[in-house]
């Protein structure tokens, strides 16, 4: 009986396992703290949304997490590994996948070629020098393509895609990296209502099997996808909780008084 109990206890550990954790993460530009002593932790399978006004430090936080910007102080941990300052490529290899706000894909290459560059797990020069590119998608590539609705355009050049498709292509690329955590910077930016709906559905599908951290402006979109929200204000975490908790939070309301972001919702 005891043994079974033990197993079920240790089984339950992965469910609440922390994938990403920051410790007093701070970055100062000319003395101005764009991100100030931020401590967040994201559990496995969680779909977390970070909201905040322009200049609250959301995008800078993502930059710190993926290594684009070096922190002045503090640490970033991925599971049990300190990934602070190990370089963008090493951070990506250790399992952090990032989608940028403006779709950053390789426009002169086909959709499949984009996915192939992203899904390739062997990143060394010589490993790739002695290996041919396959004209067909692998199972992983086919799966992420169908998940993002790109199966029919695999042979098309990325420059011929619509804006929404470009956003999905970059999402598909990040997914095919098989990252431990996915960082998304405004994934629905510039999308039509129908495309936004599809993106929201996609993110909900991902939740549970993937750990996702999303930055978002659009409160309607946030409410559709959200389980847990982190509010940032002036570089620091102001509040954390569910959508209704956040809306009732006095500090948040005060910080946003006169700002359109929440009243829009």
């Amino acid at each position: 009986m005891n043994a079974i109990l033990n197993i079920s206890e240790s089984d339950s550990v992965p469910c609440t396992e922390t994938v990403l954790r920051t410790k007093d993460l701070t970055v100062k530009f000319d003395g101005f703290a764009a991100v100030n002593k931020v401590n967040i932790s994201v559990a496995r399978g969680e779909l977390r949304v970070i909201i905040g006004a322009n200049g609250a430090g959301k995008s800078t936080l993502l930059d710190l997490l993926c290594g684009k910007t070096l922190p002045t102080e503090g640490e970033v941990w991925l599971r049990d590994r300190n990934i602070t300052g190990i370089g963008e490529a090493a951070i990506a290899r250790s399992g952090v996948g990032r989608k940028f706000q403006t779709p950053s894909v390789f426009k002169e290459m086909t959709v499949l070629e984009n996915l192939q560059v992203a899904s390739n797990r062997r990143t060394g020069v010589f490993a790739n020098l002695f290996s041919w590119r396959s004209p067909r998608p692998t199972d992983v590539e086919a799966e992420v393509a169908s998940r993002t609705g790109l199966s029919d355009v695999l042979g098309r050049r990325a420059s011929e895609l619509s804006h929404g498709q470009l956003q999905w292509l970059e999402l598909a690329m990040v997914l095919s990296q098989d990252p431990k955590i996915i960082l998304l910077d405004e994934p629905a930016a510039g999308m039509t209502a129908a495309e936004t709906d599809k993106t929201a559905q996609l993110l909900l599908d991902l939740a549970g099997s993937h750990t996702v951290l999303v930055i978002e402006h659009d409160m309607a979109f946030v409410k559709r996808i959200c389980r847990k929200i982190t509010v940032m204000h002036q570089g620091a975490v102001l509040a954390e909780g569910t959508a209704s908790e956040i809306e009732r939070n006095q500090a948040v309301v005060e910080a946003y008084l006169g700002s359109a972001t929440l009243s829009h919702a």
Binding site: A90, A92, S104, T123
Partner: protein
């Protein structure tokens, strides 16, 4: 026809013409075209680093010059009247210095290994590679890119030129090395004005083009294409972009070194002018005009520009304005046809194919 078939046919046609040409040429033009094929090899190297990886090196002349000098040292020593000490060194020797390579002039011991031709050839390929590796490591690790790479490489070529000019007792200085024996390997003597040197160069071009083509069609070439478009994005996919740039930069330096070796064999001299800024920039113009992201286009660009240049230099009216025409051509190409001749050809092929693919859609 598929695009792949057309590309293959274009390559085949080009090399068929190249290999058939000597039968229609006199010895003067055989030699001229052989030199242009050497330039074509150089243009392939530029196309690889600039067209495929976005590294615009304006100092390829340094590697080309080093290649030419390395083999020229061996070929100088192969001349009987340059043995044991090259003529130009005798003129620069201290009155009582021994007539031996070990200590004829300061640093003349550096010539000793070049008594073997194989070492001259090997050094002509490896020395450019090593210099490119050191320079590339410093540049790319510090994330130097774009115009800064161009300026640094340009400056380095100038330094190389200065070092050679200013060390006359060791290098022959401004005059370069011009008293060379013809290349002779295993009893076969290569005549710069005959078919032997021509085919040596043509074969080298073929090998370099095939090897380059092979590299760009691997996964590595694919990553390079991505690097050219957005190298920062490639980093976030887990690739150490610096290593990719470093590899292709070294490879293109080695190609320039090989071209330099063959230049010395074909033209029978090596001089500091090979490391001049204008020559390095000319190389970039060849590749740009032909189409920098097409290996074959770059080859054709080198041949066309040099052929027109040679015709122009015989015309009293055209000769003084040719450099200006060349410069204007470069500006025009960059502004109007960024993909060069190859881009235009691709456009035509696409147009020819279009009605057919429309029909396919209808069916």
């Amino acid at each position: 026809m598929k695009e792949r078939t057309i590309t293959l046919a274009a390559y085949f046609l080009f090399f068929a013409v190249v290999f058939a040409l000597p039968f229609a040429l006199n010895s003067f033009w055989t030699n001229r075209i052989a030199v242009y094929l050497v330039y074509a090899i150089c243009a392939v190297g530029i196309s690889l680093s600039w067209g495929y990886a976005g590294i615009l090196s304006l100092g390829q002349g340094l590697f080309f010059g080093i290649g030419a000098y390395m083999i020229s040292m061996s070929l100088t020593l192969a001349m009987p009247d340059n043995n044991p000490v090259p003529q130009f060194m005798l003129l620069n020797m201290e009155p009582n210095a021994p007539r031996d390579l070990c200590c004829a002039t300061p640093g003349s011991f550096l010539w000793q290994p070049f008594q073997y031709l194989s070492i001259g050839v090997l050094a002509g390929i490896l020395v450019p590679c090593v210099i490119a590796a050191v320079l590339g490591y410093v540049m790319f690790k510090r994330r130097t890119s774009g115009v800064y790479v161009s300026i640094i490489t340009l400056a380095l070529a100038l330094i190389g030129q200065m070092l050679i000019i200013n060390n006359q007792p060791l290098t022959g200085g401004f005059n370069g090395l011009a008293d060379l024996a013809p290349l002779s390997v295993g009893g076969i003597e290569f005549d710069p004005y005959g078919k032997s040197v021509y085919y040596l160069v043509a074969a080298a071009l073929l090998v370099v083009v095939l090897l380059s083509r092979l590299i760009v069609s691997t996964r590595m070439g694919h990553v390079l294409k991505a690097v050219r478009e957005d190298d920062a994005r490639v980093r976030y996919l887990g690739y150490n972009v610096e290593n990719y740039k470093l590899f292709i930069y070294c490879f293109s330096a080695a190609i320039a070194g090989i071209a330099g070796l063959l230049f010395a064999v074909t033209s029978e001299f090596a001089s500091p002018s090979l490391m001049s800024t204008s020559f390095s920039i000319s190389m970039v113009i060849w590749a740009a005009l032909g189409g920098r992201s097409s290996l074959l286009g770059a080859c054709i660009g080198a041949l066309i520009v040099n052929f027109i240049g040679s015709v122009a230099s015989e015309n009293v009216m055209l000769q003084p304005v040719w450099p200006i025409v060349l410069g204007l051509m470069f500006v025009l190409v960059v502004l109007v046809m960024p993909e060069g001749i190859a881009g235009i050809a691709k456009g035509w092929i696409a147009k020819l194919r279009q009605p057919r693919s429309l029909k396919e859609v209808v069916q």
